[in-house]
C-alpha cells in the first residue's frame, strides 16, 4: 500500500508526462508547491520502490508499474471530478484530490459506468484514462450522437444544476422518450418532448446521456 503522499507525487508526475513536459525534481517541486529537498527525498523513496527511474541529474521516468499506479489514480481523480461536477459542486479539484486515495477499484468502475464512461473530465477537459476492460457495456451515447428523425430515451443528465432544472421542467427527464427532429452539425439539436419542440445547444446535448432504442 502506498501512502497518500506517494500517490500524490505519482499523480503529479503522470500529469507532467501527459503534458509532455520534462520531468525533473525542480519541475515536480514547483508543480506541487513543495520544497526541492522533500521532493528529492520522495523521488529517492519511489525509486527504491521501483516505481520510477532516476539517474543523477537526469530525467525522471516512471517504470511500468509506477505508470500503471499513477494512471489509475489520475483516472479516479478525473472520474471523481466528473461526479462532483455532476452534483453541482464548484471547487471539484481539491475534493477529488482527497477522495481519490480512498475509493476502491470496484467503486471507481461503478462510478465510471454511472457516468456513462466519459472520455474527458469536465473540469479541465483532459482525457480520463480507461480501466482497460471492455467499455462497450458502460459506454453511453449522448443526445449529441443521435441523428435527425431518431427516437431515444434519456438516461441521465450530467449538466450543471441550473441547466438540469430547466431541462427537467421542460420534461427532459430520465426515462423520457424524445425524438430528434432537427439538428445542425456540431450545432444545436431540436427535440420533440411533451408535444412541443425544444432546442438544446451542442455542449449541453453532450451532457445528456441517452439509451438508444430500436
Amino acid at each position: 500500500m502506498l501512502s497518500e503522499n506517494e500517490e500524490e507525487y505519482l499523480e503529479e508526475i503522470y500529469a507532467l508526462f501527459e503534458d509532455r513536459e520534462k520531468i525533473s525534481i525542480s519541475r515536480i517541486s514547483e508543480a506541487m508547491g513543495v520544497s526541492k529537498a522533500s521532493t528529492s527525498e520522495m523521488i529517492k523513496k519511489l525509486s527504491e520502490e521501483r516505481l520510477l527511474k532516476h539517474e543523477r541529474y537526469g530525467e525522471i521516468e516512471l517504470t511500468e508499474e509506477g505508470m500503471n499506479i499513477a494512471r489509475n489514480i489520475k483516472r479516479k481523480h478525473r472520474l471523481l471530478e466528473s461526479f462532483l461536477h455532476f452534483l453541482g459542486k464548484k471547487d471539484v479539484h481539491n475534493e477529488a484530490c482527497k477522495l481519490e486515495h480512498g475509493i476502491s477499484e470496484e467503486s471507481a468502475d461503478a462510478l465510471c459506468k454511472f457516468l456513462g464512461a466519459p472520455e474527458r473530465c469536465p473540469d479541465d477537459g483532459k482525457e480520463i484514462p480507461r480501466c482497460g476492460k471492455d467499455c462497450s457495456e458502460c459506454l453511453k451515447k449522448t443526445l449529441a450522437d443521435i441523428s435527425t428523425g431518431k427516437e431515444t430515451v434519456i438516461f441521465r443528465t450530467l449538466c450543471g444544476r441550473k441547466a438540469s432544472m430547466r431541462l427537467n421542467e421542460l420534461g427532459l427527464l430520465p426515462g423520457e422518450k424524445i425524438k430528434v427532429v432537427n439538428r445542425m452539425a456540431h450545432g444545436p439539436i431540436e427535440v420533440e418532448v411533451k408535444g412541443t419542440k425544444v432546442a438544446i445547444g451542442y455542449g449541453l446535448a453532450k451532457k445528456i446521456l441517452v439509451e438508444e432504442c430500436e
Partner: protein, 610 residues
Amino acid sequence: MRIALAGNANVGKSVIFNALTGLHQHIGNWPGKTIERAEGTLKYRDRTIDVIDLPGIYSLSSFSQEEDITRDYILNEKPDVIINVVDATALERNLYFTLQLLEMERPLVIALNQMDLANTKGIDINIKELQELLGVPVVPVVAIRREGLTDLLEAAIKMDKKPEKEVRYSEALEDAIRKVEERIKTEKYPKRWLAIKLLEGTAPISIDIEDIKRALEDRISMGAFSYIASERYRVVREIVESVQRIIKPEKSFSEKLDAFLTDPLTGSISLIFFFIGIFALIFFFGNIVSATLEALLLSFFTGDNVLYSLYEGFVAGLTIVLPYIVPFYLLLGILEDTGYMARAAFLADRVMHKLGIHGKAIIPLLLSFGCNVPGCLGCRIMEGERERDITIFLSTLVPCSAISVVVMSAVGRTLGLAYVLLLYALVFVILFVLGRIAYKITPGEAVGLIMEMPNLRKPSISVVTKQTYHRTMDFIEIAFPIIIAGSLFVGALNHYGLIEPIAGFFSPVTEGWLLIPALTGVVLIFGVVRKELTVTMLFTLYGTTELGAIMSAPQMLTFTLVVMLYTPCLSTMAALLKEIGPKRTARIVLFETFFAIALGGIFARVLMLF
C-alpha cells in the same frame, strides 16, 4: 376586483390582455426590474376590474426574474382570480405550470386558448372532463378572434373559492410533503405549496428539512427536484391521456415551411437572405427618409443661438426614430411574432457559441445594427447575467445605422466601397476577438442554449403594431431627453467659443497619437451625442463635403475606425445605465474609448507602412 393573467410564454396572454382592457392600459416596469409590467382596467356590468398581465414563464421555480415576479405577485398581492392562459396545442407542457398554480391556492380559471389552431392540428380536447379532473372552470377561447372572452370573464367573476381538488403525487412524495408541512410555522404561504418548494430547493424562505429531503432522495434514488418534476409530468400525462385525442396527425403547411426554414442548408441561406434584405430595405429607405425629413425640418427655422440647438436636437432624434427605428422594430416584430426569431437563434447558435454566448444573442446583436439602444434593451432576453453582460458589451460595438452613414459618406464616397468593406471586416474581427476575451474573463457559469421553439404562424397585425409602438416609446423615453440635452450642451459650447480651446486640448491625442487634424477632436466629442454628427460637423467646420481635400486616405481610415469603435453614444449610455447600472456602464464606456484610441494610433502607424 383584480384579475391576474398567468401562463407560459407565447400562449396568447397579451392578446387576451389587450382584448380585455383595450386602451385602458398602463405599461411600466416592475419595481427594480427591467421586465415590463402591464396593467389595465375594464368595465363589465357596472364593475371595474383591474387586470394585470404577469410575465410569461416556463414554470414557477425561481430561475429568472419573470418567475420570481409572477410567484411573488400571486402569493403576496393575492389577486382575486387568476386566469391561467393555456395553449391548447401544447396541453402537456402548459398543464405542468397549471399544477403549480393550483398549489398556490388562489381562485383559478383556465382559458384554453388557440382552440382554432388545435382544431386544425386535429387535437380534440374533452373540456368537461378536463374541468372535472382539475377541479377548476375551463373556458375555450380563440383570443385573436375574441371568441369566448365573455364566457371567460363571467367564469372569472363568479369564481370565488380556491381550487377544490388537490393533485396527489406518489406515496413517497406525499409522505415527505406531510413531514415537511409539520415543520412549517409560517402562515405567509400555502403550506402544501411551500412544502413542495422546500423539497425542490426553490422555496422563498429557508426551513431546515434536509433530513426529510435526504430520506426522500434515498427512497427514490434520484434528486428531489427531478423527481418532483417527473411526478408532475406523470400526473399531467394521465390527465392529458384521458382528455385529449389527436385525430389527424398530418403534416401541415406550417410544419413543412418550418422544416425548410430550419434545415441546416436551406435555413441558413434564407436566414442570410432575410437579414440582408432587411438591412438593405432599412438602410436605403431610412437614408432617403432621414435626409428628406432633416432637410425639411431644418428649413423651417434657421439660427445659431443656443435655443436653436434645442430644436436641432429634437430634429436629430426624430430623424433617427421615424426612418430607422420604427421600420426596424416593425420588421423585427413580424419576425418575432411568426416565431422565426427562435429559428434564427437555432441556426446561429453554433456561430454565436464561438463568441461565448448562445444563439438567442443574434436578436439583440441584429437590433444593434439598426441602433444600439434597442440592441442593449433587447439583451434582456438572454437568461443568465453572464450571457447578458457579454451580449450587451458586444452590442455596443456593433456598427449602427448612424455609423454606417459615417462610413459611407466619409470613406465610401472618397475611397470607394472596397475600403468600406475592409473597415467593416476589421470591426467584425475586433468584435470577435473582444467577444472571445470577454467570454474568458467574465465570471459565472456558462449556460447553454435551452429554448422552446414556438409554432410557426401568421403574424398578428395588432400584436406587432402594439409591440412596435411600445418599443418605440421606450426608445423615445430613453434617447430623446439625452439627445436634446446633449445638443443643447454642445450648442452652448459652440456659442461661447469653447470649441477651439477644446480642440487644442485634445490635439496631443488627435494630432499627436492618431495623426489626424486637430479639429476632428471637436467632432469626436460631438459624436458622443450622435455618431453621424462626426461627419456632418466635419462638413460644416470645413465648409465642404469633399473630405478628400481635408484628410489623406490613411487619416480618413483612422478617423472612421475610431468613430466606429469609440464610446457608445449618449442614448446608448442611457440604455446601458438602465440595464446594467452605472458601474458596468462606466467600465464599457471607458474601455471602448481607450481601446479605440489605442487601436487607432496603431492602425495609423500600420497604414504609414503602405
